[in-house]
Structure formats: C-alpha cells, structure tokens
Symmetry: C2
Subunit: 474 residues, 2 copies
C-alpha cells in the first residue's frame, strides 16, 4: 500500500479514531484508487502493533459510511467515492499542527441520521420532554428590555441567586450568589478550573473509567492525568497518589459505571484530600434523577475545609442546547475564576441566563423535574426489569443497579466483546456506546445503556435487539 499510517504516541484509546482519520483522509484525498484492497487486519495489526479488533472496528466504520466495501472472506476494498469536498480543501501548511492534533473526527460527534430504531447514547435528556410552554414563557418574559452589554463574568446576579437557592434546597449545598459562577455547562466549569486552578504539570487524579471530556479539559491545559480505579463503591481512595493536586470525582452517579460513592468513601476522600491539601472537584452532573433511597450528602456539604468545588449542569435536566451549568466555590475563588474567564468567553450569554433565572424562580423548573422524574423512572424500571431477566438467563453477566441518572452499565460474558456488540447494534440501527472511551486501561469494556433519548417503546425494541444479537454471538 502507498499510504503511511502513524500511531506512535497516540494514546491507546484514541488509536481507533486516529487510524480511522488517517485512512479516511487517504481515501478522501484519492491516495487510494477505488477497488484497492486495504491491508488485512492481521498484517496491519502486526505492522502497527495494535489489536486486530481495533482495525476491524475501523474497517467496519469505513464500510458503514460507504468509504470502503467489505466482501465476506475476501477482505476490505476502497469504495467508489474517492473524492470528497474535503479533498478540495487542503490544509494550508501553518495549520498542519492544529489539524494533526485532532485524534477524533468531528463526524463522530454529529447526531445520528434520521430513522434510527433507537438512540441509547448516554448523557442526553429527551427533547420530547422539553418544557416547551414554560420555557417559551420564561424566554419571552425577558425580551421587553434590551440586554445590558458587558456584564459580570461570573454570570447574571439573579441567576446566581436562583441557583444558590435551588441547590441549597435540593442538595443542601451551602451557597449564596457570591459562591456561584455560571458556566457553559459542566464542561465550561472544567475548562475554567483547568485554566485557573491547575498549574502546568500538576497531577490531576481522575476516575478510571471516568468522563472523557472532563479529563480532556485538564489535559488540554497541560495537567498530568493520573488514573484512579473505580469499584462498586466509587473511586478507590487508597489509590489516589500523594502528588495529586486536584481530584475529580462523580460521587452521586459515577460516570460511566453508575456507582454511588459510599458514605465511608466520602469521608476517606475528604480526609485524603486534606492530607494532600488537594482540591476536590465534585461533578454532580445528573443528581436530579434519583430512583432508589435518598441522595447522599454531597462532598461539598461534608467538607468543612472549603476545598471542594461543586459542579452542576442544566444539560441533563433541561437541555444541553442551553449551555448553562455552574460551579460553587469560595467567593474569592469565584472572583479569580470569573476574572480568568474574561479571556475565554468574557461572560455567559444574557438571554439564556435571564430565561433560566425566570424558569427557576417562577417554579417551572421544579414542575418540569417532577414530570421528567416520573417519565425517566418508568424507563429505568423497564430497563432494570429487562436487565434482571438477562442476568438471570446468563446473556449478560451483571449490570449497575441504576439508582440515579439517565444511564446504566452492563457487563457482558467473557466471550463477548462490547465494542463488537456495539458495532453490530450500530449497523442494525441502534446507537449505543461502551465504556471504552472513558477507560484509560485495556480492560474489557462494558456496554452503556442510556435511556434519555429512548422512550418505553424504543427501549423495548432496542433491548429485544440486544438480546437477539447476544444470542447469535454465544
């Protein structure tokens, strides 16, 4: 073959995406002829020193997207489309590094095409449950005055007040408006903390598996990422290394495993953080949906030393389209973060902030939560009942009890590869992810089933298909 592929220095978890990107680029730029045979997975695995299954996944994706053709028992061939729009748009030399840095393709991130059977991707609330009427009213109530112009980078005072009152009531987080900084979702909070709190080469301890994009925020600002294992009780505190300056955790609903950080572990974690004089970032991204027992007290409330930054989001409760979340920290820290924010995006947009402040204070938010809690609980109960049956008959080996949030994880029997299953489901019309992207090691990954975008009917269809696919694989 005439195309060089480079995977040296690419982290294990990004190799699949990098290989896809390089092959896709080579095909799009016409560096293969239509009908050229791609190397066998075995020869490429030997050449690049990566798993055959990784290469098979990439080939399957190229086939699924029409860039390549698979012939059973005969190999994989470059498809007839060799020139694309992108080929007409070369990358000017000075930008080469920027484009090379990108391990993933933006195409990965786009919404699935219409007509899917079911979308089981996690972390997404149902647009069908969006509070259309109340939201419209909250937005229009803000439109009678011109917006103020440049404003406080920590956010609109009435929204900071509304959030402070809300988290005090709902989570017992002790905060006034001065403690609250409005961010562009939880992601904006991570980026701001990474920008301000974390110095270059500071060690940031993250859960493994753990939310990929939180980790990526800190890595992008030059932090050293340290993986700490997670078990059924959440992060294993004993494994937090002594040089950790920041510890990022999801105590209410571990992302992605779904574990609840136990009361003992909470105390241990705060004690350990105190010994290390480390900052704790508590990502409470979907705590509003809780199905079993009462929620545990957040670390922020248990922490008497003021070292915990509490992060929340409206992406799971209302919509990610809002791009509104918040963090809670000591007022002087909020001031410093707000100042740093001036050079990132200056301040949050006024319109959505004003609308959200109205939506919370006029009671629509709590009404919306009551309604969506009922809807998601039904889906969760259906899912748990089906998974219990599948665990009984051995088609899955275990599943997280789904005490909270909008997803759960499923462990598969040893002879089933989660990536392979997800790929098969994808081809059959079910969008589904595994824990692979969130893992820093090479342990077998679990399946992640989200039910934010799938109502009872879709969930039933998808679970039928998962059962059927699993039985063909045994």
């Amino acid at each position: 073959m005439t195309v060089d592929l480079f995977l040296d220095g690419v982290p294990a978890r990004q190799r699949s995406a990098a290989l896809y990107e390089q092959l896709h680029t080579a095909i799009a730029h016409g560096r293969f002829a239509a009908g050229d045979r791609l190397p066998t997975t075995r020869s490429l695995a030997d050449e690049l020193g990566i798993a055959r299954s990784t290469i098979a996944t990439v080939y399957a994706r190229l086939v699924a997207e029409g860039h390549a053709l698979g012939r059973v028992g005969d190999g994989t061939f470059v498809g007839p489309t060799t020139a694309t729009v992108r080929a007409a748009s070369p990358v000017p030399a000075p930008f080469a590094r920027a484009v090379r840095q990108t391990g993933r393709s933006v195409a990965d991130l786009e919404s699935p095409p219409r007509g899917w059977l079911a979308d089981l991707r996690s972390g997404r609330p149902d647009p069908a449950l969006f509070p259309l009427t109340d939201w419209r009213q909250s937005v229009t109530s803000t439109l009678h005055l011109p917006p103020p112009g440049y404003d406080h980078p920590a956010g609109l005072p009435e929204l900071r007040r509304a959030i402070a009152a809300w988290i005090k009531r709902s989570r017992g987080v002790d905060a006034t408006a001065d403690h609250v900084l409005v961010t562009a979702g939880a992601q904006g909070a991570f980026d701001l903390c990474a920008h301000t709190i974390v110095g270059p080469d500071d060690a940031v301890a993250v859960e493994d598996p753990g939310y990929r994009l939180a980790r990526a925020s800190f890595a992008a600002r030059g932090a050293r990422i340290v993986a700490v294992p997670v078990d059924r009780d959440g992060i294993v505190v004993d494994h937090i290394p002594a040089h950790a300056r920041v510890i990022v955790v999801t105590p209410s609903h571990q992302a992605p495993t779904g574990a609840l950080l136990s009361p003992d572990r909470r105390r241990q974690l705060l004690q350990r953080a105190g010994e290390l004089d480390a900052i704790v970032i508590e990502d409470d991204y979907d705590t509003e949906y809780r199905y079993v027992d009462r929620p545990l007290e957040p670390l922020h409330r248990l922490d008497t030393s003021g070292r915990t930054v509490y992060v929340g989001s409206f992406s799971k409760t209302i919509s990610p389209s809002l791009r509104l979340g918040f963090l809670v920290a000591p007022p002087r820290v909020v001031d410093a973060l707000a100042d740093a924010r001036r050079v990132v995006d200056a301040q949050p947009p006024h319109l959505t902030q004003a609308a959200l402040a109205a939506f919370i204070t006029n009671g629509a938010f709590e009404r919306h939560l009551r309604r969506t809690r009922r809807a998601y609980r039904e889906r969760r109960d259906l899912l748990v009942a089906r998974l219990a049956g599948m665990a009984d008959d051995g088609s899955i080996s275990a599943f997280a009890p789904c005490q909270a949030g909008l997803h759960t994880t499923v462990s598969l029997p040893d002879d089933i590869d989660a990536e392979d299953l997800a790929r098969r489901l994808h081809v059959a019309g079910v969008a589904i992810a595994t824990t692979a992207d969130d893992q820093l090691d090479n342990r077998p990954s679990d399946l992640v089933i989200g039910f934010g975008l799938a109502d009872g009917n879709r969930l039933t269809v998808a679970l039928d298909l998962i059962s059927a696919t699993l039985s063909t694989l045994r």
Copy 2:
C-alpha cells in the same frame, strides 16, 4: 506599616491593579485599623520602585470607593469600614495560587454605578439602539420546537450559512458554511485559536498598543507575546520578528489607536507572513461602522495562501450580551477547531444562534445596521468637530480621524498625563479609559473616547468637561 506589598514580577501595566488589590484586601481583612495613615506616595514609590502617580491613582480609587479618606495636605487614611463580606470568606489554601494569579480585581470590570454623567468607555454599542422588536420576533420564532440537544460544535448550520452569506456580501470574504465556526464573541475565537493553533512557547506577534484581552487569550495558553509597534498606517510590518508563528492584527480599525492598515502594509503583511509561514489572525471587530471612504479589502480576501483566520463579532453591532462571534478558516481547520472546542464549552447555545440566524436571514440585521450607522455617524461627526476645535486651540495635540468604529484616540500635550486626566474625569462622573491597558511599553498613553454609550447630549456634556479639566491642568 504592618502590611507587606509585593509587586515583583507583576507586569508594569498591571501594577496599579495589583497594588489596589493588595491594599484593598489588607483593609477588608482588617489588617489596618480605621484611621491608620497609609504611607506617603513618595515613600511607597521609593519602596516599591514604581511611579508616584501610580500610587496616587490607587489611593484616589480607595478614597472614591470609601475604603480610605483623603485629607488635603495631610495624607491618606484608612476609612471606617474595615470588615467586609470578603473578610469573612478566606481563601482555602489549595486555591491560593488561583487567587494570587489574578492581577486585576473583578470590581474593575463591573458596570459603573448609575447616575454617571457620561460613559465614554470604548467597544460597547448603545443598548438604547438595541433592535428590541425585531429581536423579540426572531427569538420567539425559534421557540415552537424543542432545542436539539448536543449538536455540532462548530455551530448551528443555518447560522453558519447566514454568516457566510453575510460576510461575502458585506466584506467580500469568500466563505461557505463549512468555513465558518460560531464562537462566544471574538474572545471565544481568540481562545480557541490559542488553544489549537498555537503551541506552548510559540511566538505570537501582537500590535502595541493592541487589544489587551486578545493578547491575554494567547498568553493564558502559554504563548510568548511579541510586541510590534503601530503607527498611523497600522502595524509596522518590518518589526514583525522572524520567529513569529502567529500575527494578530486589527486592519480595519486598529484597536485601540483607530489607524487603518494601509493597502501597502496589507500586501507587506501577507508577504511577510508567507515568508515566515505564519498564521494571520484578522480581528475585524467593528468594521460594520465605517464613516469615510469605502472599506479596504480584508486580508482574508487578499490572501491567496489560506493562512488568514478572519474573526468577526456581533458584540459591537447587536450586543456583547449575545456572546456570538465567528471565525472563518479552511474547512479542515474549522473541523479541528470545532473538535478542540468540545473540551472548552462543547458547542454554542442553541437559542441565541437560532434567533441570530433568523435575525440575519429575515433582513432585520441589515435594517438595524442602517439605523445604527446613522445614529453613530451623528455622534462621530459631533466628536470629530469638537476634537478639531480642541486641536486648533492646543488643548489636545492630535486625534485619530475616526474613519470607522465606535471610538477614537486623542493625544494630549506633553505636560498632561492621560491617566491623571482619566482619573479626574472619573471622579467628576465621566467613565473614560486610556490606551495604557493596551500598551506593552511605558510611552505616554492616549485618551480613548468611545461613543457607543453616549448620545449627542451626553457626548457634549462630557467633551465640555474634558475641555474644562484640560484647561485647569495647563
């Protein structure tokens, strides 16, 4: 005195803010007693090795804010208020670095109190000219459907299309939707470029004086900032150093001097960038307001090599509260930037994007620009006529001709200190800035007169006051 002040390592331009912050903190935390005399400006100037005028400015501000009392001929004393909310909110140890990093106080950035005579701060459009009815209609037209959830990180497709069509028509920038990335104002574009295009320790050439917050974005991501002087024809291309990887310029209306980059310099700049294989970032922040001659072709249009990133904003035309701007780059670069954005703020908010797309495509934006151009032209003509008179009678030494935008700069006679004048005006009720914050050297600064927030009446009152103050200072 019992309080140690540290200014070592603080850049010259930030010393005033840092000194203010340290004194203010010491007073707020009760480390002075009410009535304590602050050191004389002379003794503190000797001790800290900075100008007496800097210290006098800080003392004046502490007096203006009620933290200190000034007695003519007798010195400055700590005021009766020694405990504030902030004193009750100490900074937990692990956050100390974050708080220390902040040279400026957030208080600097807040809107002035009500009741000012005039606000001549630059870069702010008039909320009184906000297109309330058309905007309300554009917003409400988007509220009949739920927002889509996670979406393309480069922005809403219809907004990318609308922006591409608009800048093609208005500026001759050759772009399709694929070339456009929607950002959180121009600031969001700088931050994203800093994140993705610029490597650690890369040299970024900036104009001196030049827009402080653009420079700060690149510095925050670890770039080395290199100052390039500006004259009447804009950036002095011969001074761009050979190791510059990125060149940030404001060709249409140099920020802050107001110079227009001449056609010759445009050609020289692109040639120089080509020789260095450098990226050019063209910040076209307020090009929509042009009062004299036709606008020159943007660098992006003159550049045949694809090395120019064009940055625009809706902050000056509609409102900074919108937090919407854009950049134009080759599609593959846009993809890479969009991917990098996932870890900053995921994507722009849907509501404001959808409303702006409607506002542009339904013609309201052009209507709004016609109306505001007339209003700002009247203010500009009034300002230029008054400044011409003041130049004639010698009370100012020169002023930029204000061919475009919402501000102009005024050079003062040698014996007048712009900072001192601005402070006196501030006390008298006029908010006004100088070029000091945008300068990287210690040359005398110019006065910056913005007319976005001051209508004809306010502008007249403020100019009367400036004239009167200048004559008392001669």
